[in-house]
């Protein structure tokens, strides 16, 4: 890792774009710096499941040629980027961190990948994650765990753990993740980066391997609110191949970014501050709220009374959908097949027995049960009713406020192995993020400081009205101006000699 490379990888998305625009750096240099940083740090971090240096360098060369011809496609043209391994990438193995998809090379790109590449962004690799996006610590990856760049003994959060860790580790300036119950916001909070889960339907899900179709949403992770806004602007918008994607026009997220917090009504849900939150985390969240007030925002107490039913409803709906979505992994057409199995039933059971890890198996069983004859009304249907009530809670709150703020998670990053023995304890990490998915609302995590004891980053969660990502990002930016970006990845700086 040269000093020049070090300087380049410290740049954000916009800054890289500017360097490219004034030809102060080439795409090849930026991509090489990214690849070098990955080579130097990823043995320690484990953010990447696959790096594609040749493909990336070739794309970088194309971007450089375009830029030198004055044909720059967008502010993202030539900028290195990485995507969660849940996104299909044409010609590049896509596994969802599962053995059952090992060796699967998709014949087409996810819409969001297509959009990023059309804008000129250069994909350098596929990011680690919990298997099929099921998990909150990235420990459910079938291939390897991912570690938190701020403390390698801790998890980066999940399921988009690799997406957050790679950005925090300066391996790439930004990445894409997915969020079904907090899978972008939790790792963003744990890793001290910005993560946005857009409104359901704002970003296309086409080519994104489904976990829970009514909850999954694609979003950006970056080191600044502005970079996240830029990336979101590039991927958002209607996709005719996804009938659940909205036809609403996409706002100009950058235009309103610097408007500050003055005049905003910020809702503080009573139920999010009723114990269970680590004192150091709560202090940072309350500090952030105080800063907003100082900036001229008004804090309004609101109530989200059905919050406590969120986890229960989520684990019925998400597992029900997952049990159906994962039925296609049957060994017949792609991915793993238990070749030694005899007959149809054995092929199914052996393929799925060997191919799925414990968490997908657990969720397939839960979901199958929830949908079974005789149980459907008591479980799935009731969960859907809870979902309606949760949405109503938010609607009532948003009659009084512009945005809702609170903690992302009850704690900062926990240690690897700390919660693996107790799935319920693991599920509780998503207690504050899950209702936002159930209500189909946009939410995000923005760094709000460093925990006094653990010295780990903590994120503030913001939740907005449907399709009002602009206000969400503006609110986040107002805080960022006050507290600055997330911390440097201390663990890597000190461990670099050893890791490189």
């Amino acid at each position: 890792m040269t000093a020049a490379n070090e300087a380049l990888t410290a740049l954000g998305l916009r800054e890289m774009g500017e360097r490219l625009a004034r030809r102060a750096a080439s795409s090849r240099e930026l991509v090489d710096a990214s690849l070098a940083r990955i080579a130097a740090t990823d043995a320690a971090v484990g953010a990447f499941l696959k790096v594609v240096p040749e493909r990336a360098r070739a794309r970088a060369a194309e971007a450089d040629a375009r830029i030198s011809r004055g044909e720059r496609r967008s502010p993202l043209d030539g900028v290195p980027i990485a995507v969660k391994d849940l996104f299909l990438t044409k010609g590049v193995e896509t596994t969802a961190a599962s053995r059952i998809l090992e060796g699967f090379v998709p014949p087409f790109d996810a819409t969001v990948v297509e959009r990023l590449e059309a804008a000129g962004a250069v994909v350098v690799g596929k990011l680690n994650m919990d298997e099929f996006a099921m998990g909150s610590s990235n420990e459910n990856s079938a291939f390897k765990p991912c570690r938190n760049p701020h403390d390698l003994s801790r998890t980066p959060g999940g399921s988009s753990g690799g997406s957050a860790a790679a950005v925090a580790a300066r391996q790439v300036p930004a990445s894409l993740g997915t969020d079904t119950g907090g899978s972008i916001r939790l790792p963003a909070s744990f890793c001290g980066v910005v993560g946005v889960k857009p409104t359901y339907g704002r970003v296309s899900r086409y080519g994104v391997i489904a976990f829970a179709s009514s909850l999954d949403q694609v979003g950006p992770i970056a080191r600044s609110v502005e970079d996240a806004a830029m990336l979101l602007g590039a991927i958002a918008g209607h996709d005719p191949r996804d009938m659940t994607s909205s036809t609403r026009p996409v706002d100009d997220y950058l235009a309103s970014l610097e408007q500050g917090a003055k005049g905003l009504r910020i809702g503080v849900p009573r139920e999010w501050f009723q114990g269970g939150v680590d004192a150091g985390v709560e202090r940072l969240v309350r500090d952030a709220l105080a800063r907003y007030e100082k900036e001229g925002a008004r804090l309004v107490e609101v109530s989200l009374p059905h919050t406590r039913y969120g986890i229960g409803a989520y684990y019925l709906i998400a597992t029900a959908e997952a049990s159906s979505n994962l039925a296609r992994y049957d060994g017949v057409r792609f991915g793993l097949r238990a070749a030694d199995a005899r007959g149809l039933k054995e092929t199914y059971s052996e393929t799925r027995e060997r191919g799925f890890g414990p968490e997908p198996k657990r969720r397939i069983m839960l979901g199958t049960y929830a949908l079974s004859a005789g149980y459907y009304d008591a479980y799935y249907l009731r969960a859907q009713k809870v979902r309606t009530l949760i949405r109503r809670d938010f609607d009532q709150a948003f009659a009084k406020v512009d945005v809702i703020a609170g903690p992302v998670a009850p704690t900062c990053a926990f240690r690897l192995g700390e919660r693996t023995a107790d799935p319920l304890q693991m599920y509780l990490a998503d207690i504050f993020t899950i209702t936002c998915n159930l209500a189909a609302l946009p939410g995000m995590s923005v760094p709000c400081g460093v925990h006094a004891e653990t010295r780990l980053p903590v994120g503030l969660q913001l939740v907005g009205r449907p399709f009002d990502e602009a206000t969400l990002l503006r609110t986040a930016r107002a805080l960022e101006r006050e507290v600055g970006p997330g911390p440097e990845p201390a663990a890597l700086t000190s461990a670099r000699g050893g890791a490189a």
């Binding site: 996104f87 299909l88 899900r205 489904a210 829970a212 179709s213 296609r328 017949v332 792609f334 949908l371």
Partner: protein, 484 residues
């Protein structure tokens, strides 16, 4: 003896393939045949990450059908996933409709023994077809999967248990098929499986009010098989009940080779399909404007058409029924009649040709009117030639056959084949004279009072003139010479 003591109760589930060019959730072709897996794409292969994109024409076809059958079109209906594992089902679930189908209610009117009967429909819903497993494709006995059919749009029409005999069931299917074909939503092809049905069969003692336990019979791809399967199943159920047993609810498969039904799975083994609303597709919203457009564009249905043929054109119920059973034939009839003339007499003539010689020729050729070389204008022209006396009945038959084969103009055929009638008295008189001279004995008997011999003389003259003599002129000449 016992079968007569029981009442058969039948309900049918018809699966009709919709005549769209592309599949229900992707752009792949719906064409029948094709090398295995050539009409496929990532969506219908159920690849990871794909999403269904609804073909709006499927909704239009369902609305059109619902209107024609008097169903209540639902302004909002919901897609559901039906979950089960099978190699020909790529996603591990079939996208169908469950709790909220697009059409509710409706009726199909059938006529059995001259009596009209209304068969109620429960519902119509839309769904995707599965693929096909192909066994023993290689030497090691491996099976293959052909997914060309996976994702082809289907409409399932479910009847109430209103049918009381196999004959009613067959009439119901024929009527329903004629309607769907007339609407242009289905090709009515049983052999290729684009119109297929399952039957729910139960029996109850005559006079009883409570239905017996039903069995669902699958795999009947012809009316004949339906009859065989239901007859077999009824006998089986009657035997069980007569022996003091109970019919078990189950799904049974019809074995076309042995002519029997056999158990496929019992109620206990029945799949739990774990239906739930399909999260990848928004509900289907049918706007009132779509309903009105579809209503305005509805064609005349077979039953209404048959009524019109009987009332306005005086056709017999039998002829009218024959004509409307195939919409294309009825269309040909309408066009030929329009080109030929008006009124019952003209209609009867056109109908006779269509239900007679043309039906035979079409049957031999295995083609429908659309593929015929003989056009409605041709048939009208031939009828006019007969009316004008240019050709006689036997000549007309030959012209029709020739035009059917070649598509040549009728008058050109008359010319080329020398089929024009001879009406010139002097030419015919010579033949009459020759016949009478050669048949002295018959002439004697005729004059002795055996007037039935007139037919013999006419036949001989026609033979002498190679069938070209105008029969009216022959008759008049013979009469004059024999009686005069």
């Amino acid at each position: 003896m016992p079968v007569q003591d029981f009442q058969v109760v039948l309900g049918l589930e018809v699966h009709a393939q919709l005549l769209t060019r592309s599949k229900i959730f992707c752009g792949c072709s719906t064409a029948f045949g094709g090398e295995p897996n050539t009409h496929t794409c990532p969506v219908c292969l159920g690849m990871p990450g794909v999403l269904p994109l609804l073909n709006r024409q499927v909704v239009e076809f369902a609305v059109r059908t619902g209107l024609a059958l008097g169903c209540a079109i639902q302004p909002k209906s919901v897609w559901a996933r039906k979950n089960y594992f099978y190699p020909d089902l790529p996603k591990g679930y079939q996208i169908s409709q469950y709790e909220a189908p697009i059409c509710l209610g409706g009726t199909v009117t059938i006529v059995v023994d001259g009596q009209e009967k209304r068969i109620r429909l429960t519902r119509i819903h839309m769904e995707e077809d599965a693929g096909k497993n192909v066994h023993d494709v290689s030497a090691d006995g491996a099976s293959g999967v052909d997914l060309n059919r996976a994702g082809v749009p289907l409409m399932e029409l479910v009847s109430e248990p209103d049918l009381r005999s196999v004959e009613e069931a067959v009439e119901y299917l024929k009527e329903l098929r004629a309607i769907l074909v007339c609407l242009g939503v289905n090709d009515g092809n049983l052999e290729e499986g684009s119109f297929r049905c399952d039957a729910n069969v139960s029996i109850m003692r005559k006079g009883a009010t409570e239905y017996g336990t039903r069995c669902e019979i699958k795999n009947m791809n012809s009316f004949r098989f339906l009859k065989q399967a239901v007859d077999y199943e009824v006998r089986r159920q009657v035997e069980i009940v007569e022996a003091g047993g109970k019919v078990m609810q189950e799904t049974r498969l019809f074995d076309t080779v042995r002519g029997e039904t056999r158990s496929m799975r019992s109620k206990e083994e029945a799949h739990d399909y774990r239906y739930f609303p399909e999260p990848d597709l928004p509900p289907v919203i049918v706007e009132p404007s779509l309903v009105e457009r579809a209503r305005a564009a509805l064609p005349e249905l077979p039953r209404a058409r048959a009524a019109r043929y009987q009332q306005a054109l005086g056709l017999s119920p039998y002829d009218a029924g024959l004509l409307v059973s195939d919409g294309a034939v009825a269309g040909f009839f309408d066009a030929a009649l329009a080109a030929y003339g008006k009124g019952p007499e003209a209609a009867k003539k056109v109908a006779n040709w269509l239900t007679g010689d043309l039906a035979r020729l079409a049957n031999e050729a295995g083609t429908g009117p659309v593929a015929w070389r003989l056009t409605p204008a041709h048939l009208a022209g031939i009828l006019k030639l007969v009316d004008a006396g240019t050709i006689g009945g036997p000549g007309a038959k030959q012209v029709v056959e020739e035009v059917f084969r070649t598509g040549a103009a009728p008058d050109a055929v008359v010319q080329a084949k020398g089929l024009a009638q001879v009406s010139d008295e002097s030419a015919i008189e010579a033949a009459v004279d020759r016949v009478l001279a050669a048949s002295a004995a018959e002439v004697e008997r005729f004059r002795g009072g055996n007037t039935k011999l007139m037919g013999f003389f006419v036949g001989q003259v026609m033979k002498e003139t190679k069938g070209k003599a105008n029969p009216a002129v022959v008759n008049a000449l013979l009469k004059r010479k024999l009686e005069g």
